[in-house]
Amino acid sequence: MTVDSFKFLPRSIAAYYQNMSVQREDPVPFTPLAKPLDQCRFALVTTAGIHDKGQEPPFDAEREKREPMWGDPSFRRLAKDVSQEAIGASHLHTNNRDVLLDMNIVLPVQRFLELESEGVIGSLAPTSYSFMGYQPNTTEWRQKYGPEAAAIMKQEEVDAVLLTPS
């Protein structure tokens, strides 16, 4: 089967993406897995714009409403024992109804805890990461927030990362 990347998009947005010019990463980076899966520590990263209501403020959706060409470049941390009830969502470009029912559709914390207890993976790292997917300008992601998240991962001795841009 070939996945149709545009199946669920309105035609105008699909055409915009298809005609957009992008710069290819060259060479494409590649880090072989250093250990067997059952010894690896995993971090999870999504761009679903969710946060833990008990721990951190939501993304700045109000500024995006005032400045539609701006997206909040910061990130939120979610602990491995975060509960579904604590999840807040501020993405203005998708319907947040389903992620408020089940965070695992974008950030599979509970599925990874199951894999940890089954011994399939070594462990889920203490911190998972949520970014805001709407980023007309990715400079701050590249220069500030991406490296900050990577530094926490290194501190927490992460071996592998599952990325789920939503």
């Binding site: 899966l37 470009h93 599925r111 990325l163």
Partner: protein, 103 residues
Amino acid sequence: MSTVLVTLMPFWSERLGVPRTVGVEFPYGHLLGQPGDRDTQMGVIRAALKLLTEATGPGEVRELDYVWPQETSEAKRDWQPPEPSPIIQMMIDQRRGQRKGAG
């Protein structure tokens, strides 16, 4: 650190160059399936873990054959926000303004 990406748009992986990609034909905001569908969520994750261990070089894209259970037209509406996003609203307003100007 090794990475694996799960995406609804493998189109971008092919164009941008990504270390490892698993592609699924799901609507936006539903990377791993529907809420409460543990089996599909776990199936996609296991495919990502398999690629993580099996890939020998950069750029591999594996597409999974899950079929989204909703009608396409319904799914197309369902993932979208209840109100247009600020950028879409701005474009709608601009088009209205242009039409007024032209009229």
